[in-house]
């Protein structure tokens, strides 16, 4: 019963094994990839482990406070940004091991040549609610 965020990156992650840009796949390969992702989410919904998921557009704007009474400063998108997030999915699972297993499955989505992409996914635990008891003498 712990929530994890699965992050897919446009870039910033180590290179995928089967690294071919999506626009160079065949349309059938793109369809197969999308279907895999949808089926994956549907299966998690069925198992009671799905919380939410969305895809994100690549362009992002950086915003910063610029002082009292002045509009926020905006900049970007920065072409040189190291990291870009393509999308995310939140799962709620019984163990870290299960989260790793699911991230592995998601990473196996088919890509060019119908073969798994083997892309790196980032797996981040949510900070939980504080427990009612902690066995430590903190509380």
């Amino acid at each position: 019963m712990a929530k994890y965020l699965l992050l897919k990156h446009y870039r910033g992650a180590p290179t995928a094994v089967n690294c071919v840009p999506m626009d160079q796949w065949t349309p059938e390969e793109v369809t197969a990839h999308i279907k895999y992702m949808q089926d994956f989410a549907a299966r998690l919904e069925e198992s009671g482990e799905y919380v939410d998921g969305q895809a994100l557009a690549p362009e992002g704007t950086w915003v910063r406070y610029d002082g009292e009474g002045r509009p926020p400063v905006t900049d970007g998108p920065f072409a040189e940004t190291k990291d870009l997030i393509a999308g995310w999915m939140v799962i709620d699972v019984d163990s870290y091991e299960r989260a790793v297993e699911l991230a592995g499955e998601l990473s196996a989505a088919p890509g060019a040549g119908g073969k798994p992409i083997h892309e790196w996914l980032e797996l981040r635990p949510f900070l939980a609610m504080p427990e009612t008891t902690t066995e430590c003498h903190l509380r």
Binding site: K3, D92, T132, E135, C136
Partner: protein, 385 residues
């Protein structure tokens, strides 16, 4: 009649339906519908026999659903063959429900969800809110769990340890949304304690009451954590403490010590101390030794190091910490605390910062970050100590 009272009748009503021959999953759905109807319809004017009303309505819902089902004939035959139930003790049914909802074939999160629905009478929406997941997700989790345990024979002896683990999980979830899961866990554990005579059930109930009694003191109005030593003990609920200690003493007298009784004993020693300085740490260390004997858990070893540090001084605490696995959650927090008391604020500050990075919840992370900041301030401006 309020919602909590209506919900408290859930296990009895569900038990009667199942005993009359209703399949568990269908009975659970029917009881849920009857509960919702009761909560919506009774208002200030509840029927004279609320349980009878719920049984009648739930049974009618079950029959309606069953008639619509393809398996109608088989089930109706089953119902015909079933003798009219006598005034058998409802507690037997309740106990079977506890075992079923915590069946080892379920994952912990499914067992928790099913327990809250079938025994607690909570709606799927309330459970989903408490666990911060979408209602559809929780509905799936519950219906899968029901399918899993439907195949379990109702007369199969259950595993008390699994039931207690599930209730403890519910308790530790705290509260969010409109349901207080700690209070719900206490209610369910009380019910279980009434249905079964078992020292560890009493131990768990005592442990929950003793922790719950201190809840108001554990957080400041802004939501930040207040460490045990700094809590305002006037805010502790002395009634709950007295009740917890009474239940614990009766359990301990039976000389069948278990993990929950030992944990409750430690909680009782904290709750009983008029001030933090008067805590009987020597006895707490002894209880940790008992716990180690029972569980040999690394977490217990870690907590024992804190107690040793209080009983025999920080050096002894650090020595007790030495063999503990450093990768444990809260290891760095304990090490930081002991190093600070040992007069090494620089090491303590570094370890507090490390502990903050590794905290699993926001309140704890903020607390540990403040500890690191407090020491760093002192280190950088020695005059202001």
């Amino acid at each position: 009649m309020n919602e909590a009272l209506i919900r408290s009748l859930t296990p009895a009503v569900l038990g009667i339906l199942v005993r009359r021959g209703a399949d568990f999953a269908a009975a659970e759905d029917a009881v849920q519908e009857a509960l919702i109807e009761a909560i919506r319809g009774w208002g200030a004017d509840p029927p004279r026999d609320p349980k009878g009303w719920l049984v009648t309505v739930a049974w009618r819902k079950f029959l309606d659903a069953t008639r619509a089902d393809t398996a109608r004939r088989r089930r109706e035959e089953l119902v015909d063959q079933e003798p009219v139930p006598g005034p058998a003790a409802a507690t037997d049914d309740t106990l079977q429900l506890y075992f079923r909802c915590a069946h080892p074939s379920l994952t912990p999160s499914s067992a928790v969800a099913l327990t809250l629905r079938a025994l607690g009478g909570l709606t799927t929406r309330q459970i989903a809110q408490a666990y911060l997941v979408p209602e559809a997700t929780m509905a799936q989790r519950i219906s899968r769990a029901k399918r899993t345990v439907s195949a379990v024979r109702f007369d199969q002896p259950g595993d008390v340890a699994t039931v207690l683990r599930v209730l403890y999980l519910v308790f530790n979830e705290g509260y969010s949304g409109d349901v207080d899961l700690a209070a719900e866990a206490i209610r369910l554990t009380r019910q279980l304690a009434a249905a079964i005579d078992h020292p560890e059930v009493a131990g768990l109930l005592a442990l929950m009451l003793l922790h719950h009694a201190r809840r108001a003191g554990r957080t400041a109005p802004d939501g930040s954590l207040v460490p045990l030593a700094e809590q305002d003990r006037d805010r502790w609920d002395t009634g709950l403490i007295a009740e917890g200690i009474g239940i614990l003493q009766a359990a301990l007298a039976r000389d069948r010590l278990g993990e929950f009784q030992a944990q409750a004993a430690i909680a009782a020693l904290h709750a009983d101390a008029p001030t933090a300085g008067e805590t009987d740490w020597v006895q707490i260390v002894e209880w940790y030794d008992e716990l180690l004997r029972l569980t040999d858990s690394p977490v217990v070893r870690l907590n024992r190091a804190v107690a040793v540090g209080e009983a025999d001084g920080p050096r002894a605490g650090l020595a007790a910490l030495a063999p503990v696995d450093e990768s444990l959650p809260r290891y760095a927090a304990v090490a930081a605390y002991l190093h600070e008391r040992d007069g090494d604020p620089a090491t303590a500050a570094r370890l507090y910062a490390e502990a903050a990075d590794r905290a699993s919840n926001l309140a704890e992370r903020e607390h540990l970050t403040r500890q690191a900041a407090r020491l760093n301030l002192r280190l950088n401006r020695p005059g202001r100590g």
